[in-house]
């Protein structure tokens, strides 16, 4: 026989209220205590007066119950409490610095622009450099903000003081997100293992990042991790992960690249493997490629011309080595010229210098004057200069007036590959030529050059560029073009901030009718001012603390 659970009389009241007196008639309540007595007394009133219907009695009983429930609330008892956060050792950021961080966080993101994230990174860098921290109550906001921004984890940790470790231990989501950066600081072996684990279990983007990090600290372990997983990877993952081997390449990578990656059925994977193998000095691939190139390219010292003789079709060995038959490299190149370009791109220019006993300048000059093959040869030399980083040919290309690097994909790749000082010098050298005499802009080339390179500009370079822009704005009516908006915004984010004081000199007046230029200059000015203000706020708070320390001493 099933046992019936006895319901509380108060529960019954609620049940009657939910079902209604039509479906569940109101029962007389019998309960102990003052509350029970009061409710029972109310039951007795039913029917005594005309107004005392069962519904009215029910309402009064519920009312009594509701008040009793509120008035009789009991505290919940906790057995455990939480650990206390260790005392903070760092000084809090100034109110001004914090207000600027709040201002940055409130910035609207337009499209995919980098501004907010770059500004946050800037702020965190200044804060970390000043050895300061955000106020306690701000830490969760920062942790929430940066949980998916792995690059900022270390900075955030530095800017949150002792609260960082204390809070992430209490929050599972933060703990998982920030665990990686904590792991990175643990012992080297643990760190390597952690990176291997991430590579084995995480998503593609994180796996690539972990593989790059592992390659930097333990190249062979990175190679082993990739070798063991390579066959099962998708083709796009294979291409991406092969790129991670670009650093610390050595002969020990050759067996994997030559025998596994270069035999892959996808030509894109083979091309990527070839791009790596050619960088390994004395690798079988490099020797094959040099031998192949020598077969197709020779030098006629009499007329100082290169002579090209290519086969009618590419053979299996070329195809295996990543040479693609129908590659769309440049619309100005024909099919055979594309083969030539692909092959020569994989050979260092220094090889030709030795073989033909020519300087880099002479090789370039000969290439540009080699009639029908000149474009293929020039592009190959540019590619080679970008790939092998040989300074002599790089300088020769930069000094060659016939080459416009921004005209081709190869040129842009070289720009990105140039050492920073070389690129800065190149741009400074070209500046006067971009300042035109007519009432026109500094040519768009300047902004193309600036945009192509993703690194933080040096102070001297930034000052020179700023002075140039100030001068151009004052003296002319520049037509910067429709890309100026993004160009100027990016420049404002990358420029060395100590040159920010110059921004006040950029003349933006309300009479400017060119909306593109005015908006762009205003945007640039706003960004630089904000960055400069952040820089100044930390600088001044550091000076104040140094003065106060000095006074104490």
């Amino acid at each position: 026989m099933a046992t019936q659970v006895k319901k509380s009389p108060f529960y019954e009241l609620t049940e009657t209220a939910i079902l209604g007196t039509d479906r569940k008639p109101l029962n007389r309540i019998i309960a102990s205590g003052d509350l029970g007595q009061t409710i029972a007394d109310l039951s007795l009133k039913e029917g005594l007066e005309q107004s005392q219907s069962p519904e009215r009695v029910l309402l009064d009983q519920l009312t009594t119950l509701s008040i009793a429930r509120k008035a009789g609330s009991h505290a919940h008892i906790f057995e455990n409490t939480i650990a206390v956060c260790p005392d903070e050792k760092k000084q809090k950021v100034s109110e001004r610095s914090l207000a600027l961080l709040v201002q940055i966080l409130a910035l609207e993101t337009r499209g995919s622009e980098l501004r907010p994230s770059k500004m946050i990174a800037d702020w965190l860098i200044f804060c970390a450099e000043a050895n300061q921290r955000v106020p306690d109550e701000f830490v969760p906001r920062l942790l929430g903000l940066g949980k998916n921004l792995g690059d900022l984890h270390l900075l955030i940790e530095q800017c949150c003081g002792e609260h960082f470790a204390w809070l992430i231990a209490l929050n599972q989501e933060w703990n998982t997100a920030y665990k990686k950066s904590t792991q990175e600081q643990s012992a080297e072996a643990d760190r390597r293992q952690a990176l291997v684990n991430i590579f084995e279990t995480a998503l593609q983007k994180e796996r690539y990042s972990a593989l790059c990090q592992l390659r930097a600290i333990a190249p062979q372990e990175a190679l082993a991790a990739l070798s063991s997983a390579f066959e099962k990877e998708s083709f796009d993952s294979k291409i991406l992960f092969l790129k991670a081997l670009n650093s610390a390449l050595s002969l020990s990578d050759e067996p994997f690249l030559e025998e596994v990656a270069l035999t892959d059925r996808r030509k894109e994977v083979r091309t990527q493997a070839a791009a790596l193998l050619c960088l390994i000095t004395e690798s079988r691939f490099q020797q094959r490629m040099i031998a192949r190139a020598e077969q197709y390219l020779s030098y006629n010292s009499n007329n100082k011309q290169f002579v090209v003789s290519l086969p009618d079709k590419i053979d299996d060995s070329m195809s295996r080595d990543g040479i693609i038959e129908n590659l769309s490299l440049d619309s100005r190149l024909g099919q055979k010229a594309t083969w030539l370009c692909q092959i020569l791109s994989l050979v260092p220019t220094s090889h030709w210098q030795k073989r033909f006993k020519l300087s880099a300048v002479e090789i370039l000059k000969t290439a540009t004057s080699s009639s029908e093959w000149s474009l293929a040869l020039t592009l190959a030399l540019i590619n080679s200069a970008a790939k092998f980083g040989e300074v002599e040919i790089q300088k020769a290309i930069l000094e060659c007036s016939e080459i416009h690097l921004t005209d081709s994909q190869s040129g842009l790749l070289l720009l990105k590959a140039l050492p920073h000082t070389l690129l800065e010098n190149l741009i400074l050298q070209k500046l006067p030529s971009w300042s035109q005499k007519s009432e026109q802009a500094p040519r768009l080339d300047l902004w193309y050059y600036l945009e192509q390179v993703d690194f933080n500009w040096s102070e001297n370079f930034t000052r020179e560029i700023m002075k140039f822009i100030i001068k151009e704005c004052r003296e002319k009516v520049p037509v910067f073009g429709h890309t100026f908006y993004s160009n100027a915004s990016i420049f404002a984010l990358r420029m060395h901030i100590s040159a920010g004081e110059l921004i006040e000199q950029i003349a933006i007046n309300s009479e400017m009718t060119d909306v593109y230029r005015r908006n762009a200059l205003e945007r640039m000015s706003e960004t630089v001012k904000l960055r400069y203000e952040i820089f100044q706020s930390f600088k001044s708070s550091n000076e104040t603390s140094t003065i106060s320390k000095g006074n104490k001493q």
Binding site: R56, L65, S66, A71, I77, T81, D136, E137, G144, L167
Partner: protein, 449 residues
Amino acid sequence: MSIAYTAEQILELAPDSSAGKAGRDLATASKWKNLGCTDQAIWGECQGSGANPYQTRADLSGPAFKCSCPSRKFPCKHSLALALLFSANQALFEAKEAPAWVGDWLSSRGAKKRKEPSEAEKSPEQLEESLLAKDKRKQDRLSRVQAGIEELDLFLSDLMRQGIGTVKKQPFAFWKSRAARLVDAQAPGLARLVSECAEIIARSSEWEDALIDKLATINLICRAFLKLDELSPELKADVLTAIGFNQSQEELLSGAGQCLEDHWLVVGQYSYTQDRLRVQRNWLWGKSSGQSALILGFAHGTAPFDTMLIPGLFYKGELVFYQGSLPQRALIKSKNSEPAIAPYVSGLTSVAAALSSYASDLAKTPWLDTVPFLMQEVIPLRTPEGKWWLVDKEKNGLPLIVKDDTGWQLLSYSGGLALSLFGEWDGTTLKPLAAMKDGNYLRLQTVEV
């Protein structure tokens, strides 16, 4: 000048975030000229898009602002920028005699404060006539309310007969039309409570108990109204207020209300929109008296609230309390900023004491909606299930109703150590509005309930 607000406090006054941002952008010395100050005010001229610069002035003891710009926002970006500039660098403001456009404004503010109530200007005959008319209006209204309550009583009885389980399927209009009838019957307080029933059903999965509590409150007020003549004057005032009768501010200020002078800390503030009307709730706490006071502000659209109070600041002044058995709502009779005092007031030190105090308040006014709790030496914590609690020294806890972001902010602010917390207790959960620690004040974001 002694009164200086922090940038954060000034930005609290911004009518919206864009005004705050614009104010921040304008708060640079290069955009201003003729900056000046006296002990009472600051002023400056800011070049806008017009030919003449805008003349901006602020009486920071209020604070109060005036600007010649055409903006409908109040305070405008120029006013905010002027105050922000003063907060950042007082040296930019030259101490000098106020120009006429500042002096005139300050004088007119002083004149407004001194203005006598209009009732006093009436002759004895006019006064008697006015009182008679007022009494008649009140009687007429009471009759209409009575009729409305009788109708509401029938509605509640029907609801009990059919069961509240049936209302889940009812449209919003089911409650809205009932509330509208109460508005017609001139019982807006009851109308609001009936509207809230619809919101309870819509937002919560476990709505039955909450709805029963709300219906109980409505029933209690209705029952009390029907026995109005048998109640004490204080309780009578409470019932009428709950129904929606307003107590005349003029009468309260002229002596009908209980007056209390103290240093008042603005311990909590939040605003919400109700029927297109913006309502601001300001909780004040008396430093010496330990008395709490609720100052309500109302505004339509982007209009400013009639009273500007900055959370975390002390004001020295006199408050006049509305009549009732539990004086809570008050009016400001006079106030002056006292920003130099660190935000600290003493409150309850245990959860048991807080619950006991609530029970005794409930005994005085059983339809009490929320009461202010100022808890001292409490620690916020989060359970593994993600619930937030406030725990005292005896390890007794009160449940918090708080957004997760705010909960973490509060926890981080405490660092696992005891702090003071102010919030509104509704009988089941505490809505935290502010935390205080080591003489610092932290305003917390509220959750819409």
